[in-house]
Amino acid sequence: MSDTLLALSGVSKSFGGLKVIDDVSFTIPRGSRSAIIGPNGAGKSTLFNLISGAFPTDRGSITLDGIELTGMPARHRARHGLTRNFQNIRLMPTLSTFDNMLLGQHARAAGLAELLRPVRSPRARNIWRDEVREELDLAGLGAYVDSRVEGLPYGIRKKLEIVRALLARPKLLLLDEPCAGLNTAERDQILPFLRSLERRGITLMIVEHDMQLIADLCDHVIVLNFGVKIAEGAPDCVRADPQVITAYLGAEDQ
């Protein structure tokens, strides 16, 4: 098993003439926690969308654990071990926590037999139900299993979305600003949870603005500016990189 989990090579994407991602290449080692940072508009979310398959790349290739993702429809990527959360939390609003978590398992519940199994039945006893309960308990969210997600607090929903992603048993978990909008207390709560993911052998890739979080959590940082990779390395090196400083300060000047 190779040491590289995710490899991007020469990836580019334009939207209507505007080049949003320009010839980006990097590799993510298995088991690492990487961060993608950059000023607003640098293309971070677009990069996530390209990796998860929301839109196709114009050029370049993306491989996950040796498997070529380029050209693969989004719904198959989940099956290969790639999941994500969303910056603005996209849980299914009319469904309960339990149902949302079940959906997270969908990528692993292949085949007609699984599709037709009455898994939502309150009295059913099956491994899927148990798994959902277990994951929720691990995250400290067991109490919310039957609640409708619509009314739950922001911090809880943010965590739930990550638990949903975990239920796909991913190799690579993409987290888009997992701490955005959280107050200090909520943030302090979510940090150990994110750290625990490392113990489970999940490789993380995070988009974040919170530099402290990145310093605490990540061992590898990639910096984007205007769609181009301008730096890559350990957090301390990247922080001291003059190009990175200019990119951020330059952006502030505007």
Binding site: P73, R75, R79, R84, H106, L115, V119
Partner: protein, 280 residues
């Protein structure tokens, strides 16, 4: 049992089956205004088999269901390229085309209608209605049912979670079409006579209306809607002329107070909702 009561119960059963025929695509976010056309296919196919090939009612209706399902699957692929209101309009056009084709086909009786030789009585029809209810309830306990609902909630995310959105939509649409075909076959074999003019857009509209009235987001909503649509005019002793006007008035009133229908998930119908959707 008097003939009058028996007819009401038959109509109720058929309306319940039609309710779930409309509900399945609605659960996936599709407004199907062509249900009447798919019902017509089931009705005419089963009747034709009985008349031309002496197929007994049971198998004839079953084959009618398969034919409606097949037609629905074939049509689903192009038609589901449209969405929202465009889909509603496309299904409307589809229903009218089917009804138009039937009226123009002499072999099916043309505008004069078609006689049905076989007969199916209330016990069978009621059993089918109950069977449909049970099947639908079970379906929404499965992952497939969950997929259907999630496709309506957030299609993009459903896709990223690994759900084959296209396949789910086609499945919901086709299952709805099959149920419509069942309703058509049963209708034809009880009333012994069918005509193209019965299976119009207006019929589809009534069905969709009473499903939305009952509440399209719960499993019990369509049942409630069918009950109200069938029984309310009888209870109010409304003459034939006023029954639909009264029904429409009721729909408008309910939609104004509870836009999501009488039964909402987690909210009993006697809880009044304000305009913002908050419970008072």
């Amino acid at each position: 049992m008097s003939g009058y009561v028996e007819t009401i119960l038959v109509m109720l059963s058929i309306n319940v089956i039609l309710a779930y025929a409309a509900f399945l695509p609605l659960a996936a976010g599709q407004v199907n205004l062509g249900i009447a056309g798919l019902m017509a296919i089931g009705a005419y196919a089963s009747s034709y088999l009985g008349a031309e090939y002496a197929v007994p009612p049971g198998p004839a209706i079953a084959i009618g269901v398969l034919i409606s399902a097949a037609v629905s699957i074939v049509i689903a692929f192009p038609i589901l390229r449209t969405r929202d209101i465009y889909l509603a309009l496309a299904t409307l056009a589809l229903g009218e085309c089917i009804s138009g084709i039937i009226i123009n086909t002499e072999a099916l009786g043309g505008a004069a209608g078609y006689s049905v030789s076989g007969y199916v009585g209330l016990p069978w029809i009621a059993s089918c209605a109950i069977g449909v209810c049970v099947l639908v309830f079970i379906l929404f306990r499965t992952r497939l049912g969950l997929c259907i609902v999630s496709v309506d909630d957030d299609e993009r995310v459903a896709d990223l979670l690994g759900i084959h959105v296209r396949a789910v939509k086609v499945a919901a649409f086709s299952m709805g079409g099959a149920l419509a075909g069942l309703a058509g076959g049963l209708y034809a074999h009880y009333f012994s006579f069918i005509e193209g003019q019965h299976f119009t857009v207006l019929l589809s509209v009534y069905v969709v209306l009473y499903v939305l009235l009952g509440g399209a987001k719960t499993l019990i909503g369509p049942l409630a809607g069918a009950l109200i649509f069938t029984l309310m005019p009888e209870l109010l002793r409304a003459g034939n002329e006023w029954r639909y006007a009264l029904f429409a008035l009721f729909v408008i009133a309910v939609m104004a107070i509870r836009p999501h229908g009488l039964f909402m998930p987690g909210q009993p119908p006697w809880r009044r909702l304000g305009r913002s959707g908050e419970a008072r």
